[in-house]
Symmetry: C2
Amino acid sequence: MNQPRPVFFISDGTGITAETIGHSLLTQFAGVDFDTTRIAFVDTADKARAAAEQIAAAGLRSGLRPIVVNSAVDAELIALLGESGGLMLDVFAPFILPLEQELGMKRQARAGQAHGLVDFAAYESRINATNYALTHDDGVDLDYDEADLILVGVSRSGKTPTCLYLALHYGVKAANYPLTDDDLESEELPKRLKAHKRKLFGLTIDPVRLQQIRNERKPNSRYATIEQCRKEVARAEALFRAVGLPSLSTTHTSIEEIASKVLAQFGIKKHMF
Amino acid sequence: MNQPRPVFFISDGTGITAETIGHSLLTQFAGVDFDTTRIAFVDTADKARAAAEQIAAAGLRSGLRPIVVNSAVDAELIALLGESGGLMLDVFAPFILPLEQELGMKRQARAGQAHGLVDFAAYESRINATNYALTHDDGVDLDYDEADLILVGVSRSGKTPTCLYLALHYGVKAANYPLTDDDLESEELPKRLKAHKRKLFGLTIDPVRLQQIRNERKPNSRYATIEQCRKEVARAEALFRAVGLPSLSTTHTSIEEIASKVLAQFGIKKHMF
């Protein structure tokens, strides 16, 4: 059997930048088996030496040169990591010089800064949005005046994780409203939603997939029968069409993609935290 | 007044990779005012042309050359975007050739693939973990056998958003337990936590900051007095020390950093979604 190729995501901060770009790079080499390890907060020479030893050991063990996706910015730390013998991919390095030239200034190098210090205002907007999503989940609280947007769909169509993702990443206040059997009897919007039509976005899902998800949650319930799922989805989609709601199928769409498309639909410019 | 420098995060997918690395790059140039715009799902020549026009217009308006952080991989799309006249920073380009050489194969170029198709198993692990976090939030459900870890701390110390972040991004099942006045009367672990000591991680926070957060939530309550916050935090920290729990102050720490440090503490290797 082939050994997997060792890959290390190294950072002087959380490692999220290194892991995000590294993961995107690796998916462009389908069929290769990678063994990924994250080493975060490498912000001293000692930690860089320890990381380099760990990388070198993985190379010896596997007989394959490790790939090091590195977002640490300090030259000394980078040099120490390079002693591992791994293939160094420094994620910021290629872009610093062109940016310095364009902006007419030197970047400020400081370990760990890439992810910034905590901005209390930004933190609060994320936390407030998260609390909002939690209290306006599944129609629990129906006061939607404060909502930036409201996701509408049948139970288990992906509303809750999308709302939480929008809150945690963008500080967007997203409520969600589950379409009940009663709601689905007509092709009109439920009364409580009518005043907020411009904030609504529909989520739909393939009935077979929905049935799988519901069956995991409530095995052998009526709720999880394929007939019930088919009926609810067909009616929800008919409702979206009848009232002209923008909508999206979540069946083959990741949470990130749903969130991204919803933001694009509403032209929400908030940047990611 | 100076015009802000226009910056565009362009992607053939969600734009998360471009935005993550772009944002990290920009923070290295403190003091520059940037006006950032995300254009996601640029996966056709028409969309690339429209994006290029939008970029060029921003350049004209501001009188400053736009910066384009681009994660689209198709050469034709990149060329069209380049016609905007912006400074092109292609986030994958510098790393593809070294990776191709190291792996002895060509990468597979396909628009939008960087973020992959949806992997149902991964999706399910995120959703299940999110449901777990929601049902095991603030001591609602006390069955911790399934938990990967349990965050412990006083009310509003940052437990809930961290649990949700761990669930959405890593598929980690994180429960949280709020320390009540009763719990804080002794320096022993609450009975329900004793059996799970190896899964526990303490969160603490500066009492002045805690007071601010609580006061926003319940203005002028006893809960939000500085005396109450000081007392709870001091006792929680004493408890962590007495029973030897690993802990972290969330005062100056972003959700990403808390999550990262918690994963490192438990040696959880799950990779980011």
